[in-house]
Symmetry: C2
Subunit: 293 residues, 2 copies
């Protein structure tokens, strides 16, 4: 399948580029670098950089030219996971089957590893070549808004405050738009802007990004229920155990599945004026939602 | 005294500009904004933005034009204090006579407030006007290096690892160069670069910055001893209680005083080719060291 091949190829480019950035460091503190590396190189789908490059591809550009900006957004994503897992936040011991950063390096060093990755992300973005400085300033500024108090960190804060509380659909949407939606949107818009998108193209890709983010979240909520069922033979997932409001708990499994499919269709529809260069984006959102079935 | 008047005037500009940035936010989470504000508006000398503006003044420019970059560096400084104070790090209950951020908002929210301030700092820097995009990219990139794993966060990590250990002079220098030196240097170099410094001017101001940072640190170590003596009648300060290696513990009080004065003289000497526009920088380092006496 074309989708998986290209995805894997780009994923490997991301791995190499990330490793390259860490090797370049002549660290004041070796444990800090190790701790950054531990989480950054712990695998993952590398979805955000892959989306960023695919958005540039969709405009007929070569997405790999913007790998630097792609790995920067992966650093931002990784820092957010390290801080989320901290004892003072979700207090998680495992992520992707490995001990979380603070379980290995301690909460102090894990906090610093997150801080370091966030700061390094801006440095790496500002080393993106092949683009004029005005566009670069625009892209990096937008990324800072997406990752900051009006975006990802804001969503995370609202999530911390919503813990063990019944929240309504609007609040849950706000949490998701911040926690996960903002970075998906920034990934796709950055790729598009770096590749010289017109206003209309940028608007269409933004619409795609927002639908993609929503479909991603609903699917995640569904998999928390039916995924667990398959693996541990229990119909109840961790979200319900943690009294977490999700698309499934606030509606129903059937409703959520329907909504995921509708949202994915809307994402594809947003790309109607794009040619076959956008096929990866089209297939990606379908693939994502098909994991429900 | 001219120094104090100008300092106070600039300090007030910084306060207003910081408050303005926070008011502009339409927060996803109000507690997050409150928590950012709590630490950001807790006073302080605003030394870094004042230095940034003074470096631009020294080149005959109007330093206040670069207030945005100045307040951004103050946000970075504030985030570093919030994270330093966390239970997982220094576990401090008070700062500047007020409860630390996590004592008021909890460690999770305090972590996020720090994350938010760091990210917002980049956004604010990238809104600096009156400068071409190429220069802006250069300045912000340098700031990210100064604040990141090869700068401030690196120094902080080394400090965490040196806790309750006897460290030598070289290690202590590395900690200081990262923890405090890197931001002083970035403040002064940013102001100079934004104001269009020549290579020679930038080199001289960098030399000043490094001597300033060192004199600042030595003075801090001295005040930890003689400051306490005056206030609580004990000759032993918190650094010694915490088994912290300082310029005083690694040499002697007299040696440290001598070194502070020599370093301050070197800072002033670095400005020999500058006119009266650099008087603020000259007076500032003298003022700093005179607090020892």
């Amino acid at each position: 399948m074309k989708l998986k091949e290209l995805w894997k190829e780009r994923q490997q480019m991301v791995e190499s580029a990330l490793a390259g950035e860490l090797n370049k460091k002549s660290p004041i503190d070796k444990t800090l670098t190790e701790s950054m590396e531990y989480s950054l190189m712990a695998g993952g789908k590398r979805l955000r950089p892959v989306l960023l490059m695919a958005a540039a591809d969709a405009l007929g550009a070569d997405g790999t030219k913007f790998l630097k900006t792609g790995i920067a957004i992966e650093m931002i994503h990784t820092y957010s996971l390290i801080h989320d897992d901290l004892p003072a936040m979700d207090d998680d011991d495992y992520r992707r089957g490995k001990l979380t950063n603070h379980k290995v390096y301690g909460a102090g060093m894990a906090t610093l590893a997150g801080d370091a990755l966030l700061t390094l992300a801006f440095e790496v973005m500002l080393r993106q070549d092949g683009v004029d400085a005005d566009t670069l300033v625009k892209v990096v500024r937008e990324m800072s808004v997406a990752a900051g108090p009006d975006g990802m960190v804001g969503g995370q804060a609202l999530d911390v405050e919503s813990e063990n509380k019944q929240i309504d659909m609007d609040t849950m949407r706000l949490v998701h738009m911040g926690k996960t939606g903002a970075l998906f949107r920034a990934a796709i818009r950055s790729g598009a802007t770096l590749a010289g998108a017109t206003e209309a193209q940028l608007a269409a890709l933004t619409e795609y990004a927002d639908k993609f983010g929503l479909a991603f979240q609903i699917t995640d909520d569904i998999l928390d229920v039916i995924g667990d069922e398959a693996v541990i033979g229990k119909p109840v997932g961790s979200d319900e155990k943690n009294h977490k409001s999700t698309y499934v708990t606030l509606t129903s499994l059937e409703e959520a599945k329907k909504l995921a499919q509708e949202t994915a269709d809307e994402a594809v529809a947003a790309l109607k004026d794009f040619g076959p260069e956008a096929d990866f984006l089209r297939e990606l959102v379908s693939y994502l939602v098909d994991r429900n079935k």
